[in-house]
Amino acid sequence: MRHYMRLLLSLAAVAVFMWILSLFGFNTKVIVEATLLAMTPLALAAIGESLNEKAGTVNIGLEGIFLISALTGVYVAEVTGNGVIGLLGGALVGAFIGFVFGVLSVYGRGDQIIAGMGINIFALGFVPYSLMALWGTPGIRIPPREVLVPPIDTPLISISGVTILTIFIAIAAHYILHRTKIGLWIKAAGEMPEALDVAGVRVDLIRISASTVGGMLAGLGGAFMPLAWFGGIVKEISAGRGFIALACLVSAGLEPILALGFAFVFGFAESIAFTVAVTPGFKEAVPYHLILMIPYITTLVIVAIFIGKRRFPIALATPYSRE
């Protein structure tokens, strides 16, 4: 409960901040819309990784999955002429990476932190290499507008369908983890794999499935960035968001709903950089590059405040094998 209180406090702080900004004439609707956009990939990756870590596997390669899925999403969207299929393509590639990572962690008994970093560094090279190979452009691709996924206009705000889906996924993940047998298995795979094994449940399959689903959600978040948010891809499109997603998760103590809440808080920090920084009058006073540092500083401050005495699954990052 204390964790929920802390999240509520952070959200209250965000609300106060928004109110102050509105006093200065900033449009609250615009800021909320930007926050929801920034929240979506963070929340998707964090929720997926919460399932993964509850099951006992750590994947710090979310940043790399973001990048590779962003590229795949744009490519599939252009080939099929359909942005939604592009999003699915990104999710599929994310699932594939999560699956391979799961297999390597479970059967290869590898060092998960190093392997995850390997994914990030691979993506750092693979994405600019592929941009060049596919389109012959150095480090950037703007797809035609028709293949993008536009937001849905509601009377209140315009919101992306993916964002709405993300909120449902957070609730579903919470429900599965805490109310179903599968959730019990996932948590047992992370806390006491031996007991789960004795009970006749395959620890390896649970962990690989969790890793695959985690990769899939991160992949959807990755494809969301170019197709439903920025409208194009640059080689640094993820800009550390894979790690900010990890920060969300850590602040949330691995709980999916809390992760969604913290993604909103971190997303707000980003939206300030995107909306306030380009406002005339403000833009001349404060250099753009310094404004862009805000999301990272906010992330550090929030993590430092909220990390406290978090408890993580006992068997986290430890390969399990039957002796």
């Binding site: 691979f122 090279g125 060049m132 990390i307």
Partner: protein, 346 residues
């Protein structure tokens, strides 16, 4: 280390290199490139002549140091991936002292190098303190600091230190702060000696000094360190700081030891990614300073040869970084070979 263990490690490393290069060839084939032509031009380009070898060494110079940052972290049980940001700070420190101050020859270069190292170390302090006092994992804090450094240094390069009339780069460091080219026609300078010397000093520090010994005990586990009565906070801080010194030095040397510009590009193009490259180099070198020297020459060769590959086979040189990632993943999973064998036997 017993000799059989060394052979096993070497075998694992070479297997990982082969797997990485093989998967790299697969990536080329997917896009319809001629992978044989690409690799042959890469390796001939990297090691084919004395000039190319010198150029390869010039590429090895900074990544040897950023690899040390990562390796010292691992020795102390930390996953310090902050070399990237600390390197940016080192570069900007070198521009400030090397470009804005007029000092006598010798003194100027020493002051520039020391400032670069100091800037790198300063940038590692906050992640270290967050780790020590709040338990914030260094993966998150160092990456955040990398991005803060990215925008901060870009801002300084574009708005505060830009060369008048040429805003795409900063002012160049003065003649007195520059390393001379060793082999005319290449970009290999005396900076390589500084890199190697620093690496050897770190080697000696880790293997024979008391605090180097404490570092390794901490790396063996918190419990071991507590039993040994080691001040975990102090040793953790020193692991971060030494790593920061190495990365800062890398950034400084990349500015004052790399012709022709002796400046920083506004895009950070001539320093971007060197910190992350160091992670792969450290792992290939088994986090051992001597191993890192050889690994950095191998990887420097890939980077230099990558330019020939781009020219001859049309393959973008960024492929090299993707191969590095694949090598890292293979190294993380040493059982990958026995896994493959088991699969084949079925």
């Amino acid at each position: 280390m017993s000799s059989s263990l060394i052979y096993q490690r070497l075998a694992e490393t070479f297997t990982a290199l082969l797997i990485g290069l093989f998967l790299g060839a697969v990536l080329m084939t997917i896009y319809g490139y001629d992978s044989l032509l690409a690799y042959s031009s890469l390796f001939v380009g990297a090691f084919g002549s004395v000039f190319d070898l010198a150029e390869t060494l010039a590429f090895a110079m900074p990544i040897m140091l950023t690899a040390l940052t990562f390796a010292i972290g691992i020795k102390a049980g930390l996953f310090n991936i902050g070399a990237e940001g600390q390197l940016y700070l080192g570069a900007i420190g070198a521009i400030i002292v090397g470009g804005l101050f007029a000092l006598p020859p010798g003194v100027h270069m020493a002051a520039t190098i020391l400032t670069a190292m100091l800037f790198g170390a300063l940038w590692s302090i906050v992640p270290a303190l967050l780790k020590i006092f709040r338990g914030v994992h260094e993966v998150i804090s160092t990456i955040m600091f990398n991005w803060i450094a990215y925008y901060f240094v870009m801002y300084l390069a574009l708005y505060q230190l830009a060369e008048p009339g040429r805003s795409e780069k900063t002012i160049s460091v003065l003649e007195t702060a520059r390393f001379d080219v060793i082999m005319p026609g290449t970009s290999l300078t005396g900076a390589i000696f500084v890199s190697v010397a620093f690496t050897l000093i770190i080697f000696a520090y880790i293997s024979i000094t008391k605090s180097g010994f404490e570092l390794r005990i901490l790396g063996a586990g918190m419990d071991a360190a507590r039993y040994a009565g080691i001040d975990i906070k102090r040793v953790t801080l020193s692991a971060f700081l030494i790593g920061g010194l190495a990365a800062g030095l890398a950034g400084g040397l990349q500015i004052i030891g790399k012709p022709p510009t002796y400046a920083l590009y506004g895009t950070l193009g001539n320093i971007f990614g060197l910190g992350f490259d160091g992670i792969g180099v450290a792992l290939i070198g088994r986090n051992h300073p001597l191993g890192i020297i050889f690994a950095s020459i191998f990887y420097g060769g890939l980077q230099h040869g990558g330019r020939y590959m781009e020219y001859q086979a049309g393959v973008a040189s960024e492929l090299v970084r993707a191969v590095n990632g694949l090598i890292i993943i293979s190294l993380a999973v040493p059982e990958i070979v026995s896994m493959l064998k088991r699969l084949l036997r079925r």
